[in-house]
Symmetry: C2
Subunit: 325 residues, 2 copies
């Protein structure tokens, strides 16, 4: 281990990292790529006005729609439906409300008619009643086998190759990369390290209620029904203050749920980078913004030019979209 690291350090010292190599090969040349490289290279140059000291190199990324796809519904909701079906099959009494019955049978019409309350009921019921470690194991098992209903790809195959390159590029330049997402923190932690190289302690998300209970004489943290914190909209700056305690210098999102986080990032003093991933490629992924029921991008898109945020056009900026293709 030490030897491997020593060699890595010596190589890093002998030649500048990435000298002669493109750190972002899946990004087409253009304004977006140029803006990223310009910001990052200045941020590591002590002689530049854009220099950012290493401890302040905090980069935060939304997950759904920013690091992987989110259509036709958030992937965490597909997990919840699969869990509902499995739980009802194991114990028919589990689906003891009309909404849970609809979830167990995949009756989307009833679920959608129930609105947000129905979605919360389904997620709450399928994400509680087990320890955090049991839940993580369930998610890990699901994500290793489940396939997206429209693409047939595993969900982690629908992560964005250009964004993974960006995460690697930032880390190679001593940035700490975080997820800051409205998704459930335990759900994302089950795959974020493998999929994105982001360890559990760098994942910030929505929180369910929890309690400590004795299981076989040992204390365990149980996931209880109900929501303790929603890490979306104004919840994102608050979630970052609570979990990280520093204002990021680099923030990427894709919807109005990320607007507060982008504005709060940009309001800091010194160099800041804001990015919006704009879903513009109906042929290779999906095209949606102002009128979408998922990942609605309206106010943030309007605010981008004056704020100086880089709006990434997936269709023209990305040579490749999904890691799994």
């Amino acid at each position: 281990m030490k030897l491997v690291r020593l060699i890595a350090m010596m190589m890093a010292f002998a030649t500048p990292i990435w000298a002669g190599t493109d750190p972002l090969p899946s990004w087409n040349d253009g304004a977006s790529k140029a803006a990223i490289v310009d910001f990052v290279s200045h941020s590591v140059d002590p002689a530049s006005a854009g220099f950012v000291p290493v401890p302040d190199r905090i980069a935060v990324f939304d997950n759904d729609g920013t690091l992987w796809s989110e259509q036709p519904v958030y992937f965490q909701f597909f997990f919840a439906l699969d869990q509902a079906r499995a739980k009802a099959a194991a114990d028919p009494a589990w689906a003891n409300t009309p909404i849970l019955q609809a979830a167990a049978t995949g009756d989307m019409k009833t679920i959608m008619a129930g609105g947000e309350a129905a979605l919360i009921e389904i997620v709450s019921a399928t994400h509680s009643g087990m320890t955090v470690e049991q839940f993580t194991a369930e998610v890990a098992k699901w994500i290793a086998t489940a396939k997206h209903p429209q693409t047939g790809l595993p969900y982690t195959g629908m992560t964005f190759q250009p964004m993974i390159e960006l995460l690697d590029y930032l880390r190679a330049n001593d940035y700490q990369t975080y997820i800051v997402s409205g998704g459930g923190v335990d759900f994302m932690r089950a795959f974020a390290e493998t999929a994105y190289g982001i360890p559990p302690q760098n994942v910030v998300g929505s929180l369910g209620k929890a309690s400590v209970v004795m299981v076989d004489g040992k204390p365990e943290v149980m996931k209880d029904p109900g929501i303790a914190f929603i890490d979306d909209k104004d919840g994102k700056p608050i979630g970052i203050e609570r979990a990280i305690g520093k204002r990021p210098v680099f923030t990427a999102g894709n919807s109005d749920g990320d607007l507060a986080m982008l504005q709060w990032t940009s309001a800091g003093t010194g160099p800041r980078f804001g990015m919006i991933v704009h879903h513009t490629d109906a042929a290779r992924e999906w095209a949606y913004d102002r009128d979408s029921h998922i990942g609605k991008l309206d106010k943030a898109l309007d605010a981008a030019p004056a704020a100086g945020w880089t709006v990434v056009d997936m269709k023209t900026d990305w040579a490749k979209i999904w890691t799994g293709q």
Copy 2:
């Protein structure tokens, strides 16, 4: 920077870290020191049954009574009293309740008669109504100048030298060190990096309510009155799951407030280390345990032998106590 790191890596590779140097010079030779060194050296040896992979090397430390003193009251409460006096001096209308009036005048008798509700009222009133960044600046200013009423030392001079050596020793062996404390997270972050080498994102603590508001046209995270989460007792394992998402392998505390965290750590599979700092030195610090109103250590002390936790006897185990002496 790169060169310095290269040289550090080469030295680490050429000879074992600390070979010929005592990493814990303020620890007297004895069972406690031997247990620490034994655990850590095995944890970094891939051939040992006690090996711990690098990503799992998570070490958590309570703060009050574990990393610094906590008598005669938590130091955060001295800060609250000083803030109350200053706020009432600037605006007499601020102290608009009997308890806040008592805080502003240092009338401890009235405060103590008010019990826990009074303490919460004082902390809530002095820790809200400003942005997180303003609050951090207030704490930083206070901690740079305030003196402990009994010792005359600055509060950061009452951090424990042996524990700071332990934090350094763990980090030198690729442990990530965290604070997990009932103290307010924003209060601790104002000095934890300087005092302990623990950056803001590695501080887990109690949380106040918060909101995002526009200040001069820019969004800021405001500290609001009220408490959102208490990171004590069962709150500690829950706080760790929420902020870190991994069960620690090394946990240190000093009171029954740390019992759940110690038990939960020990209940994990694989090598685990639990430590209790026992305040036994009335001459150099304070001596207290089962009957103390602060840092009560009773059930955890009883549980230690069967659990295999190392009970540190400050009087005999520590050659030096405070960093500031």
